[in-house]
């Protein structure tokens, strides 16, 4: 069968096809596997930290800045607290930041984006202009405002990153949503008597979703980095509930004496970001059934 898609009849698929470089399928599944393993290790660490950490994070019996030993595999910090324990808690916080902020962005951004896509011309224009302003607003500045309002905490960081991300998600959702709404299958479905609310659940969200999954995954990585930056600036929560960014900041003054304190949180950050980005890349195929069959 000659493929009608070549005629550009299906704009949605055409766009997705254009985004996809000519790469062998094996390379993509390798991304999925490597990304999945790297990210899986972090998630597993986070889960383990919920039920078990080698030491109580507040316990200061390890001796100041001791090097790695059987008892403290990653050494201790300046107050003699176990670093491995901190790193495990950091994994938990990183996942919380990623999930929390992506959830906020998704709920807020998709809602606003779909409203703009469905709305009349001038509402759409107004929302779009507001989104452009919101996107131009620096995340760190927004975070500082929220910290000034709510105090430095993990929740403040999640809220700030989530809000900043929602504008980007809203703009993307609006673009994809408008495109989906102009598709012939929406008109066809209306001729079968589908009302707007039902249309949203039945056709619009499922067709917007595949385009959003990859940006969400990338945003997860971005959120972890953003939180690390905020913590590094001292806007995150302090130890014993410290994120990797905060650990980096804490280790800054002793980096020459005990380099592991700075290296390990940095390495874990990199592992998380690289893992989620590879995963995002590999996910593209999984979420889109129309790209699944061998064409």
């Amino acid at each position: 069968m000659s493929d009608p898609r070549i005629l550009g009849a299906d704009a949605g698929t055409a766009v997705r096809d254009a985004e996809r470089p000519a790469r062998p399928r094996g390379a993509r599944s390798l991304n999925l596997v490597v990304g999945g393993v790297l990210f899986g290790v972090i998630v597993l660490t986070a889960l383990v930290s919920l039920v078990y950490t080698p030491f109580d994070p507040a316990e200061t019996t390890g001796g100041r800045l001791s090097p790695p030993s059987a008892e403290h595999p990653a050494g201790t910090d300046v107050l003699g607290r176990d670093l491995l324990t901190f790193l495990m808690i950091g994994a938990r916080l990183a996942i919380a930041v990623g999930v929390g902020s992506v959830l906020i962005s998704a709920v807020l951004g998709v809602t606003i984006g779909l409203i703009a896509a469905f709305a009349s011309r001038w509402v759409d224009d107004a929302v779009s202009s507001l989104l452009d302003i919101a996107i131009a607003f620096p995340t760190v500045l927004l975070a500082m405002l929220i910290v000034a309002w709510r105090g430095a905490s993990l929740e403040s960081a999640i809220l700030a990153i989530g809000l900043a991300g929602s504008a980007v998600v809203a703009r993307l959702t609006r673009i994809v949503g408008t495109r989906v709404l102009s598709e012939a299958y929406i008109t066809a479905s209306r001729t079968a008597g589908t009302i707007t609310a039902r249309m949203l659940v039945l056709h619009v969200l499922p067709n917007v979703w595949p385009t959003l999954v990859v940006p969400f995954a990338l945003q997860f990585g971005g959120a972890v980095v953003a939180e690390a930056s905020l913590s590094y600036l001292g806007l995150g929560s302090p130890p014993p509930n410290a994120s990797w960014g905060r650990l980096l900041q804490e280790a800054q003054s002793t980096v020459l004496v005990a380099p592991l304190g700075a290296v390990l949180p940095g390495v874990l950050l990199v592992v998380t970001i690289v893992g989620i980005n590879l995963l995002a890349d590999g996910l593209r195929d999984v979420v889109d059934p129309s790209s699944r069959s061998g064409r």
């Binding site: 009849a9 012939a184 008109t187 001729t191 079968a192 008597g193 589908t194 056709h203």
Partner: protein, 291 residues
Amino acid sequence: MSRARDGAGRVQGRVQGGVPLVEVSGLRVHDGDRELVSAVDLRVEPGDRVGIIGESGSGKSLTALSMLGLLPHPLRASGTVRVGGTDMVAGAGRAGDRVRGSTITAVFQEPLTSLDPLMSVGRQIAWPLSRHRGLRGRELRTAVLDALSDVRLPDPERVARSYIHEISGGQRQRVAIAIALACRPRVLLADEPTTALDVTVQAGILDLLDTAVRDRGMALVLISHDLAVVSRITDRVLVMRNGRGIEQGPVERILTAPAEAYTEQLVASARALEAHLPAPRTGGTPGEGDA
């Protein structure tokens, strides 16, 4: 509830014969100051088979969308368009939602784009079945498979599980027709339903439309640029050109004694094409394969 109203309405329409199913009079479609369709009149009674014919840009599809109350955003309709007594010019909102599906529904030209690419065929048919007939669970499943075999699709179980990129063009159009029929409408609007298809497939789809509409006692409005296609399964034809309905009448009369020069031209060219074909009554010229 909609079932009861539907049944009653159908009987009433037949007995009285007074209220037309579709009444279009003085329809105009504007894009700002530009008038794209001017003065189209059309009446469709229960069981009628009406063809609308005209070249590209003659306003056939806009007339169809006006009947559905689904003109795309900047376009505006004026005049009278009543479907099952509901004003589709003003009532594009909730009233239109009640009419679409239950009274009128449509099959479009390109089945690849008029079906959701990310929803299995079975689910796409299930939705109108559950909405218009209130079916659930196993009943619904059986009805989906019945709907697929009604449009003569082989292996309904497999087709129901498929996504539209996994089936052929002709099969897609059969699925689109199955969805339309699942609504049990009183009028089926088919806008160039065979244009995107292979010639050999075209004939099958026309046969299917023909029998499906007859078996269910539905009215059919068939839009095409192809006189051979229209004359094959309709009784009455409206000829459109440049946004106007220029001539309307029974198929035989249009074919034998066209009143307008343009219609005469259409008939002549259709005959010239037919003359080259060994077998009569095959729609159109041989294409170059799948479109």
